[in-house]
Symmetry: C2
Subunit: 427 residues, 2 copies
C-alpha cells in the first residue's frame, strides 16, 4: 500500500480538524482508498494547540525548512491563513517538490499564477478545493464533473457569515447590527467582520470559481463588490412582500461580450433553489450548455467540512499522479484578449420616498422610461416616517446598471423623490 | 495533443445527444482540455438516425466486432439500453481493451461485478456517471469529492418521471392517472411506465450509488421497492396540510447494524432541501461524517444532460490514466459479512376511515401504543365519502416498519377503523 507523508502548517480550526480526520480515520482510508496517510510533521507556534491534539514532540517542526526538506513528507497542507507567511511557506514547499493542499482563498485568488508556476517547475501538485465553499466539491465538479460544458453562468451563496446575517434579518426581522451581533456571539462572524460583510471573502472565491468555470484567470481586482452593511430590514421586508429573498450573491457570467463578475446583495425569487439556502449553508448554481442548471449545496465553513475538502484533496493527490493543477489559463498573459465588463444588466429593486401628491407616480415612471427602465412590480404605501410622503417600492425588468445609476441621480435631483435603496434582482 | 478515438453504440436520444456534443464542441475540448476527441465509429441499425445526424457512411460499423477491433477506437460509449445486446457489446469492447463509458443503470447495477472483472483483466477503463441522475456529477463526487467521508446516509429524488408525476399531483391536485397521462404526453413517461413508476429505475440507481457510498456491492435485489401507483391525491393534500411534500425517495443508510436500501413514496418536510426539488429535476442529499449534509441538484435525464455526463466521463478517461474503476468492493464475495436490513425505522403517515363515535380515537391510540407507535401530529375530519365516518390522518415518531405493519393489521381487524394509506415520512 502506498504510504503518503503529510505535514500540516497551522493547527487552528481548519488545521486541527484536518489533523483529527487524518489520524482518526487512517484505517478507513487504508481500507477504502488503498492509501496510508500519515501525519509526519506539523508546524505550529502555539504549544497549547499541539498539546490539545496530543501531538508528539518529534512531530513538531521548528520551521518551514525542516518541513520542506523532510524526505518523509509528500504533501504539505497550508492552514495558516493570511498572506505573507502562508505564501512564503507554500512556495518553500512547492520549490522543494512537495505537493501543496491549501484552504487559503485570498492567497490562491491573488497569487495562483505565481504558485502554479512554482508547482509546475518542480512537478509538485497544487490543490485548493477547501478554498471555496467548505466541503462542497465545487472545484472538483468544475474540473472533473461538468468539464464537458461551456459554463455561461455561476451564481453562488458562498459566504456563510453574510448568509447567516441575512437569514436572521429575514426570519427575525432584526436590523443588520443586531444580526451581526448574533453572528459574532455564535462564532459565525469575527470581531472585525469586514472580510465577510464587505464581500471580500466572496470575491476571492468568485475569482477562483469563475477562473475555473471560464477557463481563464479572473483576477480578484475585476470583481465588482458591494457588501451587506447598508442592507435594511425594511428592504428585506419589502422584497419579501414582492416574493423575493435577499442573498449576498456572487455572480459570474461569460458570453461573447465578455466576462462579468460581481458580488452584491441580490433579491432572488422565492421559487429559485438558491432562495431556500439558509443560515450558514452555501450553494453554487451553475448553468452549462449541456448539463443545464445544476446546484451544489452544503456547509461553506467549519473545521470538519473544510477538513473534508482538504483530506479529499490529499486522497486525490495521492491517487492521481497526472492532474495536479487547475485547468484555467493562468499566466501573466492569460487575460489578454479577455474582456471584463464593467457595466452589466440585472433586474433592480428601488425604494423611494416620494411626495404623496397627485401625478407623482406618472412623473417618476416618465423619468424611469427616459432611461429605458420598465417596471415589473410596484407597491405604494404611506410613509411611516414622514407625513405627506409615500413609499414606493418597485422591481424593474432587465436594465443596465449604468441606466439605473443615471436614473437614480436624476430622481434625486428632482423635488419629487428620494431614492432610499437600490438593490439588484436576479433574473 | 492527445487524440482519442470514440465509438458510439446506439444513436437514440442519449447517443445522439452525445454525438452532437462531441462533434460540435471538438474545438472547445481541444482548447480547454488539451485533448482531441474524434468520433471514429458509430453502431446503429436505424439508417434514419444516421442520416439525421449527417454521419458519413465510412463511420458506420457493421457490427460490434468491427468497433472492438478498430485500432483507432479508444473509448466505446454504450447508449443502447436494455440488457442483452448492451452487455454483449460492452464485454466485447472491454475484452478488446477498450475503455467503456455507459449510461446503462440496469446493466451496471445488475452486472457491475462481471463488467469490472473484464475491464481489470484487459486494463480497460469503465465509467458510468451517466447511469445516475443525468448530468449531475454525483458519482464523481462520491469517488473524488467527498471520498474522505464515511457516508451514513444518502437520500435521493433520482427518477424524473415519478417526480414530475408527484409534482403535478401536488400542484394541480390531479389524480395519479391524469398526471401520468400528462407525463406521457410531454415525453417524460413511456407508454409502458412500469420501470419508472414501480421504482425499478430508482432502485437500479440506488444500488449503484449506495455501493459507491458504502464501499461494498449493494445488489439491486437488496433494495426494498414500492412504486407510486397507489398514491392518491387525498394523501398528497393531507400531507401538504401537515407540512410535507410527497417524493419517491431512494434511501440508503449505513450503520453498525447494517445497510438498508429502499425506494418508496416518502413525505419530506417542506423546509428540507429535497422538498423544493420539482418536476423532472433530481437531487441527491448525502450525509458524511466530516462534510455534514451536502446536496447535488439538477436535471436527471434528457439527451444533453446525460450527454454531459458521458462526455465528462470521456474527458476524465482521456486525461486520467489511473482511476479507471469504481472503488467499492465488487467481487462475488464482496457482500459476505455485510448485513442488509429488512426491517427499518421511519416516521409514518397513516390515513384511516373510522367510525365517527365517542371513544374511537382513544381506542385507536391505545392500539398504536401497544405497538410502541407514538403520534406526532393528527388531523380528524368528517369523511366526505361516507356518512357516520370520520377521516383520521396522523404522523408518527420514528417507528419500525414491522411494528406499523402489525398495528395496521390489528386496526383493520377491528370494526373501528380501516387503514386507507400507509406512507413513510423522512425524519
Amino acid at each position: 500500500m502506498k504510504k503518503v507523508g503529510i505535514a500540516i502548517l497551522g493547527l487552528g480550526v481548519v488545521g486541527g480538524g484536518t489533523y483529527e480526520i487524518l489520524t482518526q480515520k487512517r484505517e478507513f482510508f487504508r481500507e477504502t482508498q488503498n492509501v496510508d496517510l500519515v501525519v509526519e510533521r506539523v508546524l505550529e507556534s502555539n504549544p497549547n494547540r499541539i498539546a490539545a491534539l496530543g501531538i508528539a514532540k518529534g512531530c513538531v517542526a521548528a520551521n518551514i525548512a525542516e518541513v520542506a526538506l523532510d524526505p518523509d513528507v509528500n504533501i504539505v497542507v497550508e492552514c495558516i491563513g493570511g498572506i505573507e507567511a502562508a505564501k512564503e511557506y507554500v512556495l518553500a514547499a512547492l520549490n522543494a517538490g512537495k505537493t501543496v493542499v491549501t484552504s487559503n482563498k485570498e492567497l490562491f485568488s491573488k497569487y495562483s499564477h505565481e504558485l502554479e508556476r512554482a508547482a509546475k517547475r518542480h512537478n509538485a501538485g497544487l490543490y485548493f478545493e477547501a478554498s471555496c465553499v467548505g466541503g462542497v466539491p465545487i472545484i472538483r465538479t468544475l474540473l472533473d464533473g461538468v468539464q464537458s460544458n461551456e459554463i455561461s453562468s455561476l451564481m453562488g451563496i458562498i459566504n456563510g457569515t453574510t448568509n447567516f446575517i441575512l437569514t436572521e434579518m429575514t426570519e427575525k426581522k432584526t436590523s443588520y447590527e443586531e444580526a451581526l451581533k448574533e453572528a459574532q456571539r455564535l462564532g459565525y462572524a469575527e470581531a472585525n467582520p469586514a472580510a465577510d460583510v464587505e464581500g471580500f471573502d466572496a470575491a476571492y472565491k468568485l475569482s477562483i470559481l469563475s477562473s475555473l468555470a471560464f477557463h481563464t484567470k479572473v483576477p480578484f481586482t475585476k470583481v465588482f463588490r458591494e457588501g451587506i452593511t447598508n442592507v435594511s430590514a425594511e428592504d428585506i421586508a419589502d422584497g419579501d412582500a414582492l416574493g423575493y429573498k435577499l442573498k449576498l450573491l456572487a455572480v459570474g457570467k461569460n458570453s461573447q461580450k465578455g466576462i462579468e463578475v460581481r458580488v452584491h446583495p441580490t433579491f432572488v425569487r422565492k421559487d429559485h433553489p438558491l432562495a431556500s439556502v439558509k443560515g450558514s449553508y452555501n450553494a453554487v448554481f451553475v448553468t452549462g450548455d449541456s448539463v443545464g442548471d445544476i446546484m451544489l449545496y452544503g456547509r461553506g465553513a467549519g473545521a470538519l467540512p473544510t477538513g473534508s475538502a482538504i483530506v479529499s484533496d490529499i486522497i486525490y493527490a495521492a491517487t492521481h499522479s497526472e492532474n495536479k493543477y487547475s485547468t484555467f489559463k493562468n499566466t501573466a498573459s492569460a487575460t489578454e484578449g479577455v474582456k471584463f465588463l464593467n457595466d452589466f444588466a440585472s433586474g433592480y429593486y428601488l425604494r423611494l420616498t416620494v411626495n404623496d401628491e397627485p401625478g407623482v407616480l406618472a412623473k417618476i415612471a416618465a423619468i424611469l422610461a427616459r432611461y429605458s427602465i420598465s417596471i415589473v412590480e410596484l407597491i405604494q404605501r404611506s410613509s411611516e416616517k414622514e407625513a405627506g410622503k409615500a413609499t414606493l417600492v418597485l422591481v424593474t425588468h432587465e436594465t443596465r446598471e449604468l441606466s439605473v445609476k443615471n436614473a437614480v441621480a436624476k430622481l434625486n435631483a428632482t423635488e419629487l423623490a428620494k431614492v432610499e435603496s437600490v438593490l439588484r434582482v436576479a433574473l
